[in-house]
Subunit: 196 residues, 2 copies
């Protein structure tokens, strides 16, 4: 998985990076994080094909500095930009859906250090405009996936006392996402329970 | 917005790149197309800051082939990918909004040759899930901007007899978008008239 200098994951090209090997990349953790994203993307494909909802992944913004036109618009100099919104958004039953997906190795809580102020501000506005905003979190060590309304994440983020959300909050206030063969993550069932 | 050196708006450039050589690119028309996108982006900023709606531009997908980590995650080899969805989506009054923005020099009709099959399929699904789907088209020679429900575009696209939509269709079935100082394009007023 590609990482920013700060160590943040660059998810969009995770699959492509599988072919490349870089000493700075932890392949194993990359694969785990990657497989979670792959599960969500595959589920979105299933949901799209079965006309259940239409959720798309936002491409990671890239700042293009230089393009070589002599080689068919080959980008030869560019940088990853930080996503100021969330990874996924779309529509389900006419409602606007917006969520961020994160994987954590932590067994007892979800650390918020990968959540940016911009994302929090974005999610607050989604809620203000009547959209459905949540996080889908994979606790990989527990092999559990939950969705949790963004309002909890905003609360813990802004309380600032602890920069993590205890697992108990996901168990009590979130909904566990069931795994299946297809879709791999039945997260719309969880959305249905939580919001409809 | 991503710019190439020289300030050319990359999308218009990239599209031309597939057919033409760089020498054939009209900088001025690229800039005009760019300014239309800038107007939309600036309007979205205004709408966001004034809590009217939350519409974001999807970053253009870029296929990252090679990253140089010795220079702080500098992308040294990548290619633009075709947008399989639309440029903009978001939420207004709880409803999902999804639209494509295009500029045309044509005075009498909007040619559909820049619309991809993927985008048509995407917009059909947006409509099927109860989202609001439209095109915002600038007829730059007429200095007019209209929004038109995507169903008309889908109709003309699939009828296939003519690969363009006559201006009269925009005048009769669309809503003209008023220009202002801020927001530069009051397109949400047009959305309000058309859908609410």
């Amino acid at each position: 998985m590609i990482k920013y200098p700060g160590g943040k994951e660059y998810k969009a090209t995770a699959e492509r990076k599988r072919k490349k090997s870089s000493s700075e990349i932890s392949i194993s953790s990359a694969n785990r994080g990657m497989s979670f994203e792959s599960d969500i993307n595959a589920s979105n494909e299933y949901y799209k094909d079965h006309d259940i909802c239409l959720i798309t992944k936002r491409p990671t913004p890239i700042n293009v500095v230089k393009v070589d036109y002599s080689k068919g618009a080959k980008i030869v100099h560019a940088y990853f930009e930080e996503q100021s919104t969330t990874d996924y958004n779309g529509v389900y039953k006419s409602r606007y859906i917006d969520f961020e997906a994160k994987n954590t190795k932590n067994k007892t809580s979800f650390p918020l250090n990968n959540i940016t102020k911009h994302q929090i501000e974005h999610l607050k506005k989604v809620i203000a405009h009547g959209g459905i905003a949540f996080f889908i979190i994979q606790f990989e060590s527990l092999d559990k996936v939950y969705i949790l309304d963004a309002s909890y994440v905003i609360h813990f983020y802004e309380k600032g006392e602890r920069k993590s959300i205890p697992l108990s909050c996901f168990i009590e206030s979130g909904i566990e996402v069931e795994r299946a063969y297809n879709p791999r993550l039945k997260y719309i069932d969880a959305v249905e329970k939580l919001y409809f």
